[in-house]
């Protein structure tokens, strides 16, 4: 069953997932860019999978192509939910 996508829940899932990839948790914040966090396309592809599993929100490669920061991604997920 998909969880409700609120800003807080989505940010939590994104933070937990990126931390699981090895990103320093303290550095993960809405203003942080993926470049700053050393998050690459494979990480984003897996993150998109996690988002789909948790919230039922499908993100295509074209959706995330121009997403630069954690905050941008959270906003996109909320908008698509």
């Amino acid at each position: 069953m998909s969880a409700e996508a609120t800003t807080d829940t989505v940010l939590d899932v994104v933070t937990d997932t990126l931390a699981g990839f090895g990103t320093e948790r303290e550095q993960i914040a809405p203003a942080a860019t993926f470049e700053q966090l050393d998050v690459d396309s494979l990480d984003l592809a897996e993150l998109a999978q996690v988002i789909e599993e948790r919230f039922g929100t499908q993100l295509r490669a074209s959706d995330v192509k121009d997403v630069k920061s954690v905050g941008d991604l959270v906003d996109l997920i909320i908008a698509r939910g």
């Binding site: 494979l42 592809a45 897996e46 999978q49």
Partner: protein, 245 residues
């Protein structure tokens, strides 16, 4: 990252009802994989493979499906995953439609590309989702020595198999750090139904002076799917008696 295969793990072998595919299915089962044996038409052959596996204490199920069809990847992987998470994919299903390039029709060109390359890509793309999440995966693509080595009358087959080799290398590099390996086997002339009628001039060039046997290819597939091959990625293993050397 060199993880070990999780206890519950399924291998999907396309074209597993006979020949190299059947031998691979048996060999993977002997190594502890639960095996989904895909077939298109030869249900009896697939059931025979499953019967042999279960008689030896393994778990197997025959799954019908034409890998070329839209939705085949979702259907086959979905049904295989009912057995256990699919953490090994063997893209073995293949067809031939031989003719000199001058005489090859568009249909013969496309059908070989569709089955031997495009279907393998779609299955690989979908199977990677579970593999990267599990931090373990094995994709073994069955190419051919005629990918890199010319064999007149097989331009379509050669293009598909060469494409499979290149595709495997690229995808292997993409997912390596998630514990997923993507490798290719390149069999030479192997005694199967599919090679019946292939020009025997190829055999004259084999240093081993004989055709290979399906179980000799299967043993290599077993290795590539195993924990022992965790550092082998984006590579091609020739099983050809020295033909490509």
């Amino acid at each position: 990252m060199s993880g070990c295969r999780p206890q519950a793990a399924c291998a999907l072998v396309t074209g597993g009802s006979r020949g190299i595919g059947a031998a691979i299915a048996r060999e993977l089962a002997a190594d502890g994989w639960t095996v989904a044996v895909n077939f298109q038409r030869d249900e009896n052959g697939a059931q025979q493979v499953c019967k042999a596996i279960t008689a030896s204490g393994g778990t197997a199920r025959a799954i019908r499906g034409d890998v070329r069809c839209a939705g085949a990847a979702e259907e086959l992987l979905g049904r295989a995953a009912e057995l256990a998470p699919v953490l090994c994919l063997v893209n073995n299903a293949g067809v031939r439609a031989d003719n000199l390039a001058l005489s090859l029709t568009d249909e013969d060109w496309q059908s070989v590309l569709d089955t031997n390359l495009s279907a393998a890509f779609r299955l690989t793309r979908l199977s990677l989702r579970a593999m990267i999440r599990a931090r373990f995966g094995r994709v073994v693509n069955i190419a051919s020595v005629v990918g890199p080595r010319a064999n007149a009358g097989q331009s379509n087959y050669a293009a598909a198999k060469a494409g499979l080799i290149a595709m495997s290398k690229t995808i292997g590099v993409e997912v390596a750090r998630r514990g997923v390996t993507v490798n290719t086997l390149a069999p030479g002339l192997i005694n199967t139904d599919m090679t019946r009628g292939v020009e025997s001039t190829l055999l004259e060039g084999v240093p081993a002076r004989r055709a290979g046997l399906p179980h000799e290819v299967a043993a290599c597939a077993r290795f590539l799917a195993s924990d022992a091959a965790s550092y082998v990625n984006a590579s091609t293993l020739f099983v050809d008696g020295g033909l490509a050397a």
